[in-house]
Symmetry: C2
Subunit: 200 residues, 2 copies
C-alpha cells in the first residue's frame, strides 16, 4: 500500500502557448500539487527570483551535477543548461504531493522513459497561425526571433502524439479546467492500484 | 477528420453504490452527454416510464432482437433480459454526443471487447462494510436480499481492475466531479487523434 504517493505530471508546449499562465491558474485551483523549480545556468531575468522561478547556478556546478547523475532530465537550449534535480522530485512525491514539471520536449521524453508512471500533457495553441498572431501581438520581439519561435513550435508540435493528453489553449479558463480534470481523472486510475478491498 | 463523434462511457458498480444518483448529478452538470435507455423484459416498477427508465418489451420480442444481432450487449439477470440496442448507441455517437451506459459487469465486458475505444468506469462504495450499512439503512429489503446483494457486490468488485477508472462513491458531490473530470480528460486524449495541424 502506497496510497499517499503523488503523481508526476509533465507539461510541455511551444513558447508563446501560455504555459506559465495556465500553470498559475492550476496552482491557484489545486492546493495538492507542487510545481518543480528547475536548475539553470542562464542569468536571471529582471524580476526572477532564485529558488522561485529557477535555481540559478554556474555552468561548472551544473556540469558537476550531471557527472554525479543528479538530474532526472536535463537539456541544453540556446547555449544554457536546464535540468530537474532527482531529489526534489522524489521528496515531493514521497510526501504525497503531485508534482508538475514544465519542461521542453527533449526533457519530457527523458522523463517518460525513466518514469513510465508519469502523466504527460502537451499544451498547444489552437493553431500555428494563432500562435503567430499571439507572438506578434506582444510586440516585444524581433521578426527574426518570432520566426525562430514559430519554426521551433512546428517541430515541437510533431511530438505531441507522444504525450498522454493534449490540451488546446484556446480559452485560458477551459485549458486550466482541462488540466485540472486530467489530474483528477488520473487519481481515479491510481485508485485502481490501491483500492484496498478490491481484488482480494 | 471525425472530430464530432462522441465517446462511449460504460459505468458499472454494485447495487446500492448510488449509481443512479451519481448519473443524475452528472447529467445535470453536463449537457453534452446522453444516457442510454436499456431494453428489458422485466415489468415496470411503480413510477417507471417506458422509454425513460427502460424500454419495456416482451420476452418474445427481446429474443427476436437477439437472433437479429441487434444488441451491442445483453445479459440475463434474475430471469429477465437487459440489453443495449446497437442502433441507439451508433446514432448518438454519430450525432456528436457522448453516451453513458449503466450496465452490469457482464455487459460491460462485452462492450469493452466490441468497442475498444469505450471508456469504462467502476463505481464502488468506500468499503463493503459501508455498502452493507447503506443497504441496511434503507430498511426496505429482507435480510436474505441484503446478503444476496452483498455477495454479488463482492464478486462484482473483483472485476473492478478490468475497468479504466475507479470512482469511489464516498461523498456524492466528489463522485460526480470525478466522473465529470474523467469525461473531460478523455476528450483531451481524443484531441490527440484529431488535432488537425499536429503531426502533419
Amino acid at each position: 500500500m502506497n496510497h499517499d504517493t503523488g503523481i508526476l505530471f509533465v507539461l510541455s508546449g511551444p513558447s508563446g502557448t501560455g504555459k506559465s499562465t495556465v500553470i498559475s491558474g492550476l496552482l491557484a485551483r489545486r492546493k495538492d500539487i507542487r510545481f518543480s523549480v528547475s536548475m539553470t545556468t542562464r542569468l536571471p531575468r529582471p524580476g526572477e527570483k532564485n529558488g522561485k522561478n529557477y535555481v540559478f547556478c554556474s555552468r561548472e556546478n551544473f556540469e558537476r551535477a550531471i557527472a554525479q547523475d543528479l538530474f532526472l532530465e536535463y537539456t541544453e537550449y540556446s547555449g544554457e543548461y536546464y535540468g530537474t534535480p532527482k531529489k526534489d522530485v522524489a521528496a515531493c512525491l514521497a510526501a504525497g504531493y503531485d508534482l508538475l514539471l514544465d519542461i521542453e520536449v527533449d526533457g519530457a521524453m527523458q522523463i517518460m522513459e525513466k518514469c513510465p508512471d508519469a502523466v504527460s500533457v502537451f499544451l498547444c495553441p489552437p493553431s500555428l497561425q494563432e500562435l503567430e498572431n499571439r507572438l506578434r501581438a506582444r510586440g516585444t520581439e524581433s521578426e527574426e526571433k518570432i520566426l525562430s519561435r514559430l519554426a521551433r513550435a512546428k517541430i515541437e508540435c510533431k511530438s505531441a502524439y507522444k504525450y498522454s493528453y493534449i490540451v488546446v489553449n484556446d480559452a485560458l479558463e477551459t485549458a486550466v479546467r482541462e488540466l485540472d480534470a486530467i489530474i483528477c481523472a488520473e487519481h481515479c486510475r491510481k485508485e485502481l492500484r490501491y483500492c484496498s478491498y478490491i481484488n482480494t
